[in-house]
Subunit: 263 residues, 2 copies
DNA sequence: CGTTTGAGAAATGCATGCATTTTGGAGGAT
DNA sequence: ATCCTCCAAAATGCATGCATTTCTCAAACG
């Protein structure tokens, strides 16, 4: 049955997604959050722009309460800024901010790698990570990556990083890393969806895949410092990737959140 | 004028606070957030307990909307966990979690110190930090700290750390540090309010005050690595402080959020 | 011509009530 | 005694409407 005050039917349109729990919007708030995040990444809001809730609620076809909840969540993700009685402002980012975000992620994941080496109990705990790394290397060694191959690469990459973080056995560090990766250009999967696959980019993929194995080897050998250093350097691949994209003046659609970047 | 649906008058009771913007609750949501955070730190909720919104809203004398907003904020601060259609659960923490939190803050503040050394433009930017450090040292060298002296020490300590973070000139790192310090036992001011001031504790205060000067000196000399290492070690003072408190089986009221600690 | 003021318009904060979902336990079956 | 079934009670999600605050801009003032 429909809620009596609701004028519209079947607002929640369940879509077929892979397995992401958040991807299947079970509530108006989740729907609004997903839609808004996508709009922000796509650059449909100008940095510094004030968001008016009533028209936006009408546009997204949700009420103001779930919209407000979604906006607050996006504040915590770093997309927006909240001013107590003045509404929400779209954040802007500089290239330095992006570089710092990547460096920050490198630091945190590096710490996770070191902790992983220090706290490793059984060498067999590395098996799934090694399997993932092997799959990635095989994928990269193939001639040309198809669209599906690209998607699979991104999934495997996320999987590898999730394994790495889990090895640290630290809830607090895991939380910090998740928080640091909420912005689209800070995540390990950022700058991976570039369509222009230059030879340089292909080299970067190979280097990245090799680093995965070096990280595993260092953790297996309890070489905490080595694991940390390689992992930090591993994050730098994202930076080189971005620099390459900026140098070749790529279309902004290939750079996540490009429209939010100022100067 | 009062809102017509509201049955009670003058809900917002403005109190005299120092200067904290959030300390002067300008909205029901802010009021609820402050009250709930205090209740959580005081241990009025059991870890793992489910929070029912309706009775709690009645108890806090706010409506369910601002209460729900406050609960979501406390989720982001790390006090609570949200389950989509099942409400909020009070988080629990282990001593390892606390140690990891302190270590994490040390890492991030250490990075801020290194960046501060790398990005320092004018040596005069260190002047306010040096002044704060001098005030703290003078305070610690005095015979016995009064209650007001204690409060002042805590304020100065927060000031020093704020200066340090600002020197990094990194919005992203600043955000990460703020997020990492939201839990009461992770902040630089944690474990400072202990009433039992043992000789060991006094030594820790002196060591801490000295470290402040070493950090400043390292940044002034552009010794990024040294600044980072000392700052990491500086965070360890909080750990030693906590270990001392646990060893002497102090009353839980002196340990922030002690009631949320399990095992 | 730039600044201030004030009134109307619009936006946010939130109190309330209804629909849906979850929960907890009584009753029955195994 | 344990497990399943099902129903009532309670809890969450949110749509709506009102009060207060903020914003806008035009007219008056300096």
């Amino acid at each position: 049955m429909e809620q009596s005050p609701s004028p519209k039917l079947q607002k929640v349109t369940p879509r077929e997604y892979s397995q992401d729990e958040a991807a299947r919007p079970s509530s108006q708030t989740a729907r609004a959050t997903l839609a808004l995040r996508e709009m922000l990444v796509q650059g449909l809001f100008r940095p510094g722009e004030r968001i008016r809730e009533v028209p936006l609620a009408a546009k997204l076809d949700v009420s103001r309460i779930p919209l407000h909840l979604a906006l607050e969540r996006l504040v915590h993700e770093g997309f927006l800024e909240m001013h107590p009685r003045r509404g929400f402002i779209v954040q802007h980012f500089s290239t330095v901010d992006i570089y710092d975000s990547i460096e920050l992620r490198g630091m945190l994941e590096g710490a996770a790698a070191r902790l992983g080496a220090e706290r490793l109990r059984d060498a067999k705990d590395l098996a799934p990570m090694e399997s993932t790394a092997a799959d990635m290397l095989a994928l990269v060694r193939k001639s040309k990556l198809s669209i599906d191959g690209f998607r699979r690469y991104i999934d495997l990459n996320a999987e590898f990083h999730a394994h790495l973080i889990a090895l640290a056995h630290s809830r607090m560090l895991q939380r910090a890393i998740e928080r640091a990766c909420t912005l689209p250009f800070a995540s390990p999967s950022a700058f991976l969806k570039r369509q222009t696959i230059s030879p340089d980019l292909r080299e970067l993929f190979l280097i990245s895949a090799d680093q995965h194995f070096q990280i595993i080897e260092a953790i297996a050998g309890r070489e905490g410092m080595r694991a940390e250093i390689i992992t930090r350097e591993h994050a730098r691949v994202a930076r080189r990737n971005l620099e390459d994209a900026l140098r070749s003046r790529e279309v902004p659609s290939d750079i996540p959140g490009a429209k939010l970047i100022i100067a």
